[in-house]
Amino acid sequence: MVKGLARAKELYENRGQRAKELRGDGNKVMGYICCFPPVELMTAGGFVPYRITGSLEPITEADAYLETLMCPYVRSCLDLGLKKKYDFVDGMIWPHTCDNIQKTYDIWKHYVPHSYFKYLDVPHMTDPSSYEFFTKEIDVVKESLEEFGGIKITEERLKEAIAAHNENRALLRQLTALRKQDPPLISGTEMTRVMMAVMGIPVDEANELLRDIIEEVSTRKDGPQKKAARLLVYGCEIDDIAFIKLVEDSGANVVIDDLCFGTRYYWDDVSNDGNPVKNLADRYLGKIMCPRTYRRSPGTRQKDLDNRFGYLKDFAKDFNVSGAILYIIRYCDTFEFDVPEVRDYLQDAGIPCLQLEDDYSLTSIGGFKTRIEAFLEMIG
């Protein structure tokens, strides 16, 4: 079997293959969408967590079930579900993250049947009562997973799962740190493949894969070449290499991201002291920097912006970026509201930005290439 980056590429190109194999060996696969369902619960319950993704293949089935005036990423996911490409998924945890995902709950449930389907309500606010509510919600999901899987999720099992996933996140951060060098030791395109691979296999296998990749990348001679610009890519669901590759082929190194299939998934750990369910609530509600989660303003507008977007400035500084591409999938409303604010915030900090809106199909890729090249010329 191939190892390291080659293995990640293989897993990326054959999504679901490993989960299907494991299911064939008698394991249960638990699907989830978005980065808010706690994967630790699934691991502790004996399931193989599997992140549902879309595809750049044309949407053909979902047109009859989901409106075209909504998130094309969610439509693409349902399209694959309708085409029975998620038949290997035994159950599904469906979170309330945004309107597009929440309002697809009963549609997916109706047309893509799984043996188990559970709704997880994630609050939008971050008050003490919100954490209390979310802790209870996670507890409800935990109990139902126990019932479905027949395995008691004891405190000990949950803490073990948290430790394994914290290790997973730490390894991903370690790999990300290798992008600080100039040129970076791993490209954005390769990193996207790694992320997709990691989210489709059990955590222990993912950790072994990441250790191999870190070793390979740290000593490689065939890494990315130095390019004219070092970029941060901000946005939501990028689960395919096409866009990042386009940016890199246009003459830039993508050295850091703030994406749902990127740092948003692994940048912060779950505390393993005290009540593990409460710790999951603290991390998933409090630390995932998604615009769907509202953080109370600490006072002035500037403080509010720092509280919401200050981490992007830190990314830009730590990874020495020369510009940012803000890539938004159309109809992703919470991002659509934040993107002018992010653009102005970063530009005020001296980081030039290119704002792009796309329909996930990348049909306008030619137009993007021209705009990206012009942007790179401007900042070069």
Binding site: A64, Y65, L66, E67, L69, M70, C71, H96, C98, D99, N100, Q102, K103, T104, Y105, D106, I107, K109, H110, K118, Y119, D121, P123, H124, M125, D127, S129, S130, E132, F133, K136, E137, V140, P291, R292, Y294, S297, R301, D304, I328, R330, Y331, D333, T334, E336, F337, D338, V339, P340, E341, R343, Q355, E357
Partner: protein
């Protein structure tokens, strides 16, 4: 005057006296906020107006104001201002109008001279929420770009129908609602420098309970009666006091008047059109506020919308006197949407019908209101009421024999509307219904 204003009359003809009164009530709402020496709050609709009445705050609803701008066809320059700042043209058009209004105000220091009703008065606080859609708190968070005013957003999660909520989890939802509203009250007390008058709130909420019952009874009576005495376009006016003025004496008096009027028309068999060839339901999506005369176009062809689900009333709920917390009463009063009550009363199964706040299944209303067709409207800038329409269309086709038409437009952005396309599709829809009638 903005170039688009007053060029054409595109609002619907009003049939009931009550519907004609609403415009005056709305105008008063904005005028009072501009001239009275009382604190003004910009509020996102969350069905908590009782709190403002009890604290003597004048609420202004930018959502309602955006609808007013669309009706008067002056929304475009506001939306263009927001889009110039980088807000996408698929972002909620209510929000784009609100943000553009604040942006233009910030640019010049003055309310734009084409703003209807003198404009929205300067607020002392902004109050948004997560009820029904994400825009409700993101929009209010984004106002800080233009307005230096304290903002409070609160949560009100409502799980989708059929998501298996047990009694225990329902209780944890209720507890969360109450905690969030208490947080809001604490914010209001701090901002206003005065305490909530809980006795007054109790009185206001109990007045709202009576208002609510009159609202429900008048809307359901009208929809259940043939000939229909109050069409949907009137209901789309007559819901306004219940949504934006609940708890006030004016709202109670309005619904007493509406109920009496509907009852009188029912007793005297006063309908809207001479012969109801087709009774229709407006089954989802917000109406095109900029082109409401489309309802009259339908009537001219012998059809009438007898009910609309976009702003449906809540069924009255018996709340025992032992429930003394006005916040709990306020929530319980709005715990049973009309569709749920109708299904319960008629022994209809709700299993598999799905739906969520923002889009109730139209299946509930077809048989009880003897409807022969359902029309829905997909909106380019509203995920909250658009997602699920195709699913509901399929369910309607499975569970009833009525044809369903889905149109496409936007609630405020007239640039996304094609009047000729709507008329062409409606004409074809009538032909389908005619053919079905002949077949049956």
């Amino acid at each position: 005057m903005y170039k688009g204003e007053g060029k054409y009359k595109t609002s619907a003809r009003h049939w009931t006296i009550s519907a004609r009164k609403v415009r005056g009530l709305v105008k008063d709402m904005y005028t009072r906020a501009l001239v009275e020496d009382k604190p003004v709050a910009w509020v996102m609709l969350s069905m908590i107006n009782e709190l403002f009445v009890a604290m003597d705050v004048l609420p202004v609803y930018p959502e309602n104001y955006a609808g007013l701008c669309a009706t008067k066809r002056v929304g475009e320059p506001f939306m263009e201002r927001a889009e110039a700042d980088g807000f996408s043209n698929v972002t909620c058009s209510y929000a784009r109008i609100g943000l553009g209004y604040a942006g233009l105000w910030k640019d010049t220091g003055e309310i734009p001279d084409f703003a209807p009703d003198g404009g929205m008065a300067k607020p002392v606080m902004l109050i948004g929420s997560s009820v029904a859609c994400d825009t409700r708190y993101k929009w209010f968070q984004t106002f800080s770009r233009y307005l230096d005013v304290p903002c409070y957003n609160f949560d009100m999660p409502i799980p989708p129908a059929g998501s298996g909520r047990s009694t225990e989890t329902r209780l944890h939802y209720l507890n969360y609602f109450i905690a969030q509203i208490r947080g809001l009250i604490a914010f209001m007390e701090k901002t206003l420098g005065k305490k909530m008058d809980w006795d007054k709130l109790d009185e206001v909420v109990r007045r709202s309970e009576k208002t609510n019952a009159l609202w429900y009874n008048s809307f359901i009576l009208a929809a259940s009666t043939e000939p229909c005495p109050m069409p949907a376009e009137d209901a789309l006016n007559n819901f306004v006091p219940a949504f934006f003025m609940s708890g006030s004496v004016e709202a109670l008096e309005f619904y007493q008047g509406l109920y009496d009027e509907v009852k009188q028309r029912v007793d005297n068999k006063i309908g809207i059109i001479p012969e109801e060839k087709y009774r229709l339901i407006w089954g989802g999506g917000l109406p095109p506020w900029h082109t409401m005369d489309i309802f009259n176009y339908v009537e001219d062809r012998g059809a009438i919308f007898v009910f609309q689900t976009s702003y449906q009333p809540f069924a009255p709920v018996e709340i025992p006197d032992t429930v003394t917390d006005p916040l709990i009463r306020m929530l319980l009063m709005r715990s049973m949407p009309a569709g749920v009550r109708i299904a319960r009363d008629r022994g209809m199964s709700r299993s598999g019908l799905g739906g969520f706040s923002g889009l109730t299944s139209p299946v509930f209303f077809v048989e009880p209101f003897n409807a022969q067709g359902v029309v829905m409207s997909m909106l380019r800038s509203c995920r909250g009421t658009t997602i699920g329409q195709l699913h509901q269309k399929r369910l309607l086709e499975e569970r009833s024999s009525v044809p369903v038409l889905i149109l496409e437009s936007d609630m405020c952005d007239v640039r996304d509307h094609s009047e000729s396309e709507w008329k062409m599709k409606l004409d074809a829809f009538f032909e389908t219904m005619e053919a079905r009638k002949k077949d049956s």
